[in-house]
């Protein structure tokens, strides 16, 4: 009888631990999709923005070109790592662009530019928050996979730790691409 109760308790725990791991893995996938949505939205916004501001900002050609080239690289990237490197370049370029735009009072009068500026700002923010949310769930999942006793379940059912989304150029004093970045889960 006692053995039976212990057996039932163990099975219940295995089911619970397994379901928790699956739920966390799904959360990681979902968080990654959130990032992807923002990256795509940003790709769509960049041509419009460049079109709208290039008339005003003749002196910022370099910044504009950097963003456009990084976007082209990101869209045609052969693998995840080079895509992320390009995306980080876009983040750096757009951050610079948004800051520089403050120096052009004419831009403030253009309703279309203001609208694009707000859309870009929110996309950048949502990207930053989505990346944070993604890294938070990855931390939760990886902790569960690596700690006892849930690691027993994780090892037997093939759960792998997820990679963090590294590379945050806006957090560095000088924006530069972190090439050592590992590939986030797709």
């Amino acid at each position: 009888m006692v053995i039976l109760i212990i057996l039932v308790a163990i099975v219940a725990w295995v089911v619970f631990a397994y379901n928790r791991l699956v739920s966390l893995r799904n959360q990681v996938d979902n968080a990654w999709r959130q990032i992807d949505v923002q990256l795509k939205r940003r790709h769509d916004l960049i041509p419009n923005l460049v079109e709208a501001v290039k008339g005003y900002m003749q002196f910022e050609r370099d910044t504009l070109t950097q963003v456009v080239e990084a976007r082209a690289k990101a869209v045609s990237a052969p693998d995840q790592a080079s895509r992320m490197a390009a995306e980080n370049q876009i983040t750096a370029g757009l951050g610079k662009l948004l800051a520089v735009m403050e120096n052009y009072p004419q831009l403030k009068a253009d309703e279309n530019v203001l609208k694009l500026q707000e859309e870009l700002t929110t996309t950048e923010n949502q990207l930053a928050f989505a990346r944070q949310a993604y890294n938070d769930v990855v931390l939760e999942l990886n902790t569960r996979i690596q700690t006892f006793p849930s690691n027993i379940i994780a090892n037997n059912f093939g759960f792998h730790p997820a990679d963090y989304f590294k590379g945050a150029p806006e957090e560095q004093a000088v924006p530069k691409v972190d090439l050592s970045m590992t590939t986030p889960r797709a």
């Binding site: 500026q117 700002t121 929110t122 950048e124 923010n125 949502q126 928050f129 945050a168 806006e170 957090e171």
Partner: protein
């Protein structure tokens, strides 16, 4: 962070269930007292005679009211403050919608439905039964007077109430405070305009005496219930505000955002026109005139739905001090 919210969520679910149970029981007790007072249910020679109609009615009423407020409390609250859906009709409104989406992502929550109150006083609140059915409501004053960073701080505060189920507890309290005030009012009218007549008279002095005692108890209970429910609402609300302020900083990763917003509000005198006693505890700052001042001390604390603004600001300043030392990576926050 996330596990933190889960613990708070569990506490809030439990507290809400207890509150609703207490609310229904209070109604039942008052109904039973009224039954004794009306003599339709009485103690005759140590035996209970009759059927407690009013108690059953009161229990039914409280039960139905709890259910209705659980499922449509948010709509009732929005109706009572004359809120309308917030749409991207102006650039600033579109920006507020963007900020709500940003904070929802930061909190890992579904985005709440956005609402607007046409009021020049800057304020905001969140309500709903759970994150999937939550709303965030801002005043036009908040939209007009605050920049992107400040609005982000305020929405982050509200999103924290959403994430840890404060919204459910606070919404149920809002409806219950109203329900108890109404019941208490009803008891008084009924007692003093016809309640004492009694349709059946008992010959037994002892039974009469106990009926009088019960009637007295009902009167006292009806008198103190509204006061206690108000005090409860205030106490429950106050302790949550510091926590939501701290979580807002966690979401925005920028202690300056909410700090600037609160400092801004502290300078403003005009009270919210739509703010009522029943909904005051829902807002980010107390909407009623004279209750926002920085009086400290036990009684000032007891009678306020929110901690003094100066204390909240001081705590955020302390956070800002530690943050600038360790350099929190902040998100792009372009001023509009």
């Amino acid at each position: 962070m996330a596990s933190n919210f889960r613990a708070l969520e569990a506490t809030n679910r439990r507290e809400t269930a207890l509150l609703v149970a207490a609310f229904v029981l209070l109604f039942g007790a008052l109904g039973l007292g009224l039954d004794f007072a009306a003599r339709d249910f009485s103690l005759v020679n140590g035996q209970l005679v009759g059927f407690p109609v009013l108690m059953v009615a009161a229990l039914l009423f409280a039960g139905v009211q709890s259910l209705v407020s659980y499922y449509s409390g948010a709509s009732l609250v929005l109706l009572s403050v004359h809120a309308r859906p917030l749409t991207a009709d102006t650039a600033k409104h579109a920006m507020v919608l963007d900020v709500i989406n940003e904070m929802a992502i930061a909190a890992r929550m579904p985005p709440p439905k956005p609402y607007l109150i046409d009021d020049p006083s800057p304020n905001a609140f969140a309500t709903g039964r759970d994150p999937a059915h939550s709303v965030i409501c801002v005043t036009q004053g908040l939209v007009d007077q605050m920049d992107r960073e400040e609005i982000q701080g305020v929405i982050g505060h509200e999103m924290s109430h959403v994430a840890d189920y404060d919204i459910r507890t606070m919404m149920m309290i809002a409806v219950m405070v109203g329900g108890i005030a109404m019941l208490s009012d009803f008891v008084y009218r009924w007692m003093f305009f016809g309640g004492f007549g009694g349709r059946r008279s008992s010959n037994n002095d002892r039974d009469n005496q106990s009926a009088m005692l019960i009637t007295l108890a009902v009167i006292i209970l009806a008198a103190v219930a509204p006061l206690f429910s108000q005090l409860l609402a205030m106490a429950v609300s106050r302790q949550r505000e510091y926590l939501a302020d701290a979580s807002s900083v966690e979401f925005t990763r920028n202690p300056r955002a909410l700090l600037r917003a609160l400092e801004h509000i502290a300078k403003i005198e005009s009270p919210l026109k739509q703010g009522t006693a029943g909904t005051a505890h829902l807002f980010i700052v107390n909407p009623r005139e004279g209750l926002r001042d920085d009086n400290d001390g036990f009684f000032a604390n007891l009678l306020s739905t929110h901690p003094p603004l100066s204390k909240r600001i001081a705590r955020l300043q302390a956070l800002l001090g530690t943050a600038s030392a360790t350099t929190i990576g902040s998100a792009v926050a372009a001023d509009s």
